[in-house]
């Protein structure tokens, strides 16, 4: 066949691109002219994302028993001590829906190698095991019972409870929050399943014990049977280890079906109430509450816009420089 002949004779039709001035220079100018407005658009989208952060690491207790101590110190003395604190804040602009509530941690290295390994994915898939993976050690078993879930990641699960109130003088109105749909859909459907049986100590979780630092066992994480055990969305969100030491995780979504919040979170006075359980003092960490909207790019991130503008400008500059070089020194 003709093709075979051409193939054997090395005469196949081919495209032979070479870098000539009349292709490269227009390319530089084109990229430059495209990237700069693109960067400006990306920056515009990012600037439109509204975000509010509140660091509550040092908030003061409102419990009568604690006498105005910082909850940080209360928890330092006794890790199981209950401490409630409140922080007031104001939103000066209305946050348009959808508004998301995150908790943020600083200086928490979820990306430490041994930490990342410390889990047993088979256990989280709901397989009944007699032993868990040695990666979970030293959080694998104790006294003949297996930790459910095992490992350092699960053990260090974030357990503060955040509540939001809208404040009007002396009145405060609790803001309704949604706790479903905060975890990745693929995680919920593929990676996390409960073991078979009833969701209690006698059935599915027979022979297990709650992780060392937890206050409640895993099957008591929620009253809703679809959101408890290994399928609890807060657990799933926590188990997706973050890449950076300063990170945020989705905690709740503002319920915009409620009257007064249908278009978003209005500019007003608010109060955050924290059940301060999570101790961060030992590693110099900080805790934050973040309220944020999203754009089609995700959260507030000016980097991409600025980067595009910078690269576009450099491209244009290079184009001009090479044009001059080509005219003056080009050999063809």
């Amino acid at each position: 066949s003709k093709f075979k002949q051409k193939f054997k004779q090395q005469k196949l039709p081919a495209w032979q691109p070479i870098l000539t001035a009349d292709t490269v220079l227009p390319a530089f100018f084109l990229i430059g002219l495209l990237f700069i407005p693109l960067g400006a658009a990306l920056l515009f989208f990012s600037e439109n994302v509204q975000e509010f952060q509140l660091d509550y690491t040092n908030c003061k207790s409102v419990d009568s028993s604690s006498n105005g101590m910082k909850c940080l110190d209360v928890v330092k003395d006794d890790i199981y001590q209950v401490c409630t604190c409140q922080e007031s804040f104001k939103l000066d602009r209305t946050f348009e829906k959808n508004v998301y509530l995150y908790y943020g941690l600083d200086n928490f290295y979820q990306n430490h190698r041994r930490y990342v390994k410390s889990r047993d994915d088979r256990q989280l898939l709901g397989k009944t095991l007699s032993t868990v993976s040695s990666d979970c050690s030293p959080f694998d078993k104790t006294g003949g019972k297996i930790y459910a879930p095992c490992g350092a990641i699960a053990n260090s699960m974030f357990n503060d409870t955040l509540k939001l109130y809208r404040v009007d003088g002396d009145q405060k109105e609790e803001i309704s929050l949604i706790k479903n749909g905060i975890a990745w859909p693929t995680d919920r459907s593929i990676k996390f399943k409960n073991p078979p049986g009833s969701l209690d100590e006698a059935g599915a979780f027979n022979g297990t014990i709650k992780p060392l630092y937890w206050r409640k066992p895993v099957y008591e994480l929620d009253t809703n049977p679809n959101n408890t055990g290994y399928k609890n969305e807060d657990l799933i969100v926590w188990m997706r280890t973050s890449a950076f030491p300063t990170f945020r995780k989705l905690y709740r979504k503002i319920d915009h079906r409620v009257e007064g919040f249908k278009t978003g979170l209005p500019a007003d006075s608010y109060m955050l109430e924290v059940s301060y359980n999570y101790p961060v003092h030992s590693f110099g960490g900080r805790k934050r509450m973040i309220l944020s909207t999203t754009s089609f790019l995700g959260g507030k991130n000016n980097f991409l816009g600025i980067a595009y503008i910078t690269v576009g400008a450099i491209c244009l500059l290079l184009g001009i420089i090479f044009l001059i070089i080509h005219i003056k020194f080009g050999k063809r």
Binding site: N111, I182, T186, R240, T241, Y308, F322, I325
Partner: protein, 209 residues
Amino acid sequence: MYWDKPSEYVRAYYNGMDQGGRSMADQQTFGSVVATILVIVVTMQICLDTSYWTVFNHITIWGSLVFYLLLQYFYNYVIGGDYVGALSKAMGEPMFYFTSLLAIVVLMLPVMAWRFYWVDVRPSLSDKVRFKQRHDAKLASKRTDRDMLRTPSARRSRRSIRSGYAFAHQEGFGRLITSGKIMRPRNAKQGPISNGRANNARSDHGKGQ
């Protein structure tokens, strides 16, 4: 020289979120994205180095990208790998495409600029040969087009192109003959003995090409 710059991915994906507010700044997403963009960028740099693109080059180069994606999917969803959902989620968000475009341009720009400079100001021998080849090919295609029109005298006496040799002495046929266009492969079937003259001429013209 193939290189990569993970620091920009860090800044781009820092506090990354999907459009449902869910955090995308986790390790698996970050790792999958960096690895995938790396594969794409290295493929682009291979494209830059490939100077002769036959159909096989296209198949292997684009095919390897497609194969990488298929393999990712297969390993995670079918066999049950650890990273299930990470890359597909990342690729479902516009952030990924903006980041990879930026990465490709940033990493290709210096290479292209450097090569263009050398080809333009100090072309090597092989560069000069390629330029000449392309230049000649352009001229040759232009020349034959023009020649076909520039034979008004031939139009009167032209009955069939096959016997163009008989009119070789007429004005305007010179270029047509010497281009070898009228010497069809049909002549080859007659064998080297029968049409000796035509074949001699043909082999001459073949070499002159």
